[in-house]
């Protein structure tokens, strides 16, 4: 679809503004259209084709000469990027959209885990070809940081035992979801992890405590930082790269 949009901008760019005359790109484009349309089977049989001009809307059938005149006069009908009535096929909708939650809806937990699985899958398929049209294909390995992230994800996402749906990561994330959704005390989570450990025969991958689970998830990054501030909101006690150096202060600095 992208290809059609980017290469057929000329279709809706017919004349120069404020003066007569057709643009050269439009004339060339119509010639291209005529050549393409004349190759289809129906034209070869009857020597006539559907007119895609802004007035006929592909409902009337004329000879190629008339169609050209119509196009120069009226332009193409709107949104006719893909010439489906003249031997072209509608491209398939981009598969990347699948699995993206739409706005406002509650994101299902299982959906989230699916997204996680996809990410791992993306990291794995290093050698599969993916060819965007606009860029040179210079493939590189991920930089150190990204590589570390993918490695961690792979490591944590191994299934707990053969045939299991859950991985160590998904179990840990579920534990933390409990914590954040229902505000459960840490001790209770410790109890739950212990219970899980008692139930399962294979104890290898399971988190041993709440702390364990938290550490694993926090290794994946996206942390929140806490910055101390003045109780009146006059300053932050922190350092930055642009010459601010208040991290060590114990007292408010604007005392007069």
């Amino acid at each position: 679809m992208d290809w059609f949009y980017s290469n057929r901008i000329w279709m809706y760019d017919r004349c120069y503004a404020n003066r007569g005359g057709l643009k050269e790109s439009f004339v060339n484009g119509v010639e291209e259209f005529a050549i393409k349309a004349c190759q289809q089977q129906t034209y070869l049989n009857e020597n006539k084709l559907r007119c895609p001009c802004n007035k006929c809307h592909c409902t009337k059938i004329f000879s190629i000469e008339t169609v050209k005149v119509h196009l120069f006069k009226n332009g193409f009908m709107p949104y006719y990027y893909v010439w489906i009535h003249h031997g072209e096929q509608m491209p398939h909708v981009n598969d990347n959209y699948v699995g993206v939650p739409s706005s406002g809806e509650h994101v299902d937990e299982s959906e989230q885990f699916m997204a996680m699985q996809d990410m791992v899958y993306d990291a794995l398929r290093q050698h599969e070809t993916f060819e965007p049209s606009n860029f040179n294909n210079t493939e590189e390995p991920p930089n150190e940081e990204a590589q570390r992230f993918y490695d961690l994800l792979l490591e944590a996402n191994k299934p707990l035992f053969e045939g299991a749906i859950n991985s160590k990561l998904s179990i840990c994330v579920k534990l933390l979801t409990c914590k954040s959704n229902w505000n459960i005390p840490d001790q209770c989570l410790d109890f739950i992890t212990k219970m899980l450990l008692d139930v399962t025969p294979i104890k290898e991958g399971f988190p041993k405590s709440y702390y364990d689970a938290k550490r694993l998830v926090s290794m994946l990054g996206l942390k929140a930082s806490r910055i101390d501030c003045c109780i009146k909101g006059c300053m932050l006690f922190y350092d930055n790269e642009y010459g601010k150096n208040d991290g060590h202060l114990l007292q408010y600095k604007f005392l007069s």
Binding site: E145, Y150, C234
Partner: protein
Amino acid sequence: MIMNMGKMMDTYYNTNFYHKAQYHDPKVGTSKRKPIPMKTLFYLPIIPRFQRLFAPMQTAGQMTWHYDNRRPSGVLRHPSDGQAWKNFDQVHPDFAAEPRNIRLGLCSDGFNPYIQASTKPYSCWQVIVTPYNLPPEMCMSRPYMFLSCLIPGPHNPKASIDVYFQPLIDDLKKLWSGVQTYDVSRKQNFMMWASLMWTINDFPAYGMLSGWGTHGKLACPYCMEHTKAFRLEHGKKNSWFDSHRRFLPNTHTFRKNKKAFTKAKVEMGGPPSMLTSEEVYHTVKNVPTIIDEPHMSKLPGYGEWHNWTKRSIFWDLPYWKDNLLRHNLDVMHIEKNFFDNIFNTIMDVKGKTKDNDKARKDLSLYCWRPDLELKLQSNGKSLKPKANYTLDFKTESKLYFN
């Protein structure tokens, strides 16, 4: 002597009462513990979050949507179709050349995490940053709006909200010089840039972020000092009545209408001139920021010929003066308040209608509406004639029960 006392009290309060140290005093016997801070700002760093957008295939491919799917001119479907976006591209061609560079919007609003209508009000502020590169169905949806700051209460930070923006602005500055990122969909490492396009707020927050106070007579950030606002004689409130006729074309019949608007007035003035961002920067340049001077007294002339409270921290961004649209109003709050007022007036709700006695008194001063003016009666009381835009009991009940 009295002055001396005052000074002494001042220093006393400054040091001991108003501005305490960073930490709570340690309790006896717990000296080995980490000290407990008085107040903490939660900052969720944005750079790793943006980098993570390029980690899964689903989003990494979509981050160039605005570039790959060019809409034909004349279609407004995405912020990238707008003038502000295109203008920024023209001013910064290096930035525009890489479609994976991120354009950001920022919004901020206060909320109460505890009981809404409690006796002890609590106002906690959030700052949310969203990337606009994504297609319309993903852009501004919940998974792609990043909470970046959570400012604790209990009070509204007012103009000093800039203090809490510092870590965010530092990160934005860093993003303007580029951050190494791996793009999984193209399997490349590239320098990711990001720029903040605009902020979206309700009206009070607009004043906090932009630096132009939104209180008083000069509240309108478009008219600025050329405003035609006046104070109502009886209502004792600022009014912007009849300030909009000057935006009409010069030959419009409304301009000569002496009855429908202000009594016996022909509007001949033109609209206030549109300030470019350079001009705004020029006026604001010498105003101190709230970070350097947290105890700034009101600037000379505040409320008289300007309404500047501070220089906004956003001017520290090197590209901020190249943005056409810097601050936007979030229409939702305004729409709700408008609806409430109009509804209450039409339904003639007692105590909530805007069509009260004071309004009728002002009406006789400014407008030509003889049928609505208060009428003095023989017993000394005044009668308020029923207006034809309010519903009476019969029609009201019809409205309710149908």
